[in-house]
């Protein structure tokens, strides 16, 4: 299983029936592919859709039914559409149970930086700041390192997305939580040792005795 599949599959286990879930672009989008059998959630697209379904077959898309990237999607039976004020009311107002987002950096307290690299990449924050600030639970899906350099740092060097810490970081190596505001190693991926995770992480990780293998 490649890194992205490990991350997406592990996060899919966090989904429970009835949840309202917003998936970001990139690895987060893949989570929908690994939804456990019998689990039915509502996926939200922040451009104004609850009940987002799979990508339509070639030629079956419609120009007015799109995801947050502007690409064609389908709507499942029971779907609803609404304007952007309602969409962000859902996000900020505590109605969104879970968001899964990509990350550039996460720090030892769980602060996320994922929206810009000054001087290099200034795409705008889009909905990321509202999602991290407002969702009941925030999970970050990201590779553990970028070009060999740790992405889980003592302190983020890039501009933060929100003052609100994330709840969980899932990488291809580990699952990290932030109980008591401190980065804590919860699970290691199959075949990955605690020492390997520590070596690939800059932030000091609390390592309880009961670090378990990531269920996939």
């Amino acid at each position: 299983m490649d890194a992205q599949a490990i991350i997406a599959k592990r996060i899919a286990r966090e989904l429970r029936s009835g949840m309202l879930v917003n998936l970001g672009i990139g690895i987060p989008t893949l989570v929908a592919n690994y939804l456990p059998e019998g689990v039915n959630v509502f996926f939200q697209s922040e451009n104004g859709l609850i009940g987002t379904g799979p990508i339509p077959e070639e030629g079956m898309g419609h120009p007015t039914l799109t995801d947050a990237g502007g690409s064609p999607v389908t709507a499942l039976p029971g779907a609803s559409t609404f304007d952007s004020a309602t969409s962000f009311g859902l996000i900020r107002g505590g109605h969104l149970d879970l968001t899964v987002l990509g990350g550039l950096q996460v720090d030892a307290q769980g602060h996320l930086a994922n929206w810009m690299i000054p001087g290099k990449m200034v795409p705008g924050m889009g909905g990321a700041m509202d999602l991290v600030t407002g969702a009941k639970r925030v999970i970050i899906a990201m590779q553990h390192t970028a070009k060999g350099k740790p992405k889980i740092l003592e302190k983020c060097t890039l501009p933060l997305t929100s003052a609100r810490p994330v709840d969980l970081v899932v990488s291809e190596m580990a699952v990290i939580g932030f109980p008591g505001g401190r980065a804590t190693l919860l699970e290691t991926a199959p075949g990955v040792s605690v020492d390997q995770v520590l070596a690939a992480t800059e932030a000091r990780l609390a390592t309880p005795e009961n670090v378990v293998e990531m269920p996939l």
Binding site: T66, F88, G134
Partner: protein
């Protein structure tokens, strides 16, 4: 409400005007109006919208032609031309969190001076803004936004200007329709009065100033 041609509609918009434009990555954008603004050579425009779409699409066409002096948007990541013009200083870009942008527009249309939001607290977004605490939680004061014109795209319009929208092409449209001095609408279909049931009217005709006739 008056029905006019797309040429007449664009000719009402002067150089330097502020425009709120509906659409999300070009979906729900009044494309014919944008094309006509480009054709008529309108310039120095201030464009308030969710995004700048991408080169060759919707608002991206105004950017390609160098007609946008300033944009207020939440995301320009899929338009490298906007980013190029921003870095070269040709275009000013104000980036606003999406939920804050739509609420600032809503406030502008609903007679409010602004809104209080937790989004952006503790980030670069709070720079230069007032922060207040209510019941122990910090909020930013984000001021209302209005524009000279709202360029709206609907799925259905009736002859009086009632509008309803299709699926994800709704997005910013009904909100910007409340927040501009002059509202100009295009629609995929213009239908007789009564075909849009009152319950299904999203933007009431009373706030639509001009409806662009279909060819």
């Amino acid at each position: 409400m008056k029905t006019i041609s797309v040429q007449e509609a664009a000719s009402m918009i002067p150089d330097g005007a502020s425009l709120m434009v509906g659409g999300f990555m070009g979906v729900g954008t009044p494309h014919r109006l944008i094309d006509e603004l480009v054709r008529q050579g309108k310039r120095d425009l201030i464009v308030i919208a969710n995004d700048n779409a991408k080169p060759g699409v919707g608002i991206g066409k105004l950017v390609d032609a160098g007609r946008v002096a300033r944009t207020i948007a939440s995301h320009i990541g899929l338009n490298p031309e906007t980013q190029r013009q921003m870095i070269s200083g040709q275009m000013a870009v104000d980036l606003v969190p999406q939920g804050t942008l739509i609420e600032r527009i809503r406030a502008g249309g609903y007679g409010l001076g602004g809104i209080l939001t937790p989004t952006g607290v503790g980030t670069v977004v709070e720079e230069g803004k007032r922060k207040i605490e209510i019941e122990g939680k910090a909020y930013l004061i984000e001021t209302a936004l209005r524009a000279d014109f709202a360029l709206v795209h609907a799925f259905l319009a009736d002859y009086t200007g009632n509008l309803s929208y299709a699926l994800t092409a709704r997005n910013f449209n009904p909100v910007i329709a409340m927040a501009a001095d002059t509202v100009i609408a295009t629609a995929d279909n213009i239908v007789p009065v009564g075909l849009i049931a009152p319950d299904h009217v999203v933007t009431p005709a009373a706030i639509v100033d001009y409806l662009v006739a279909n060819r």
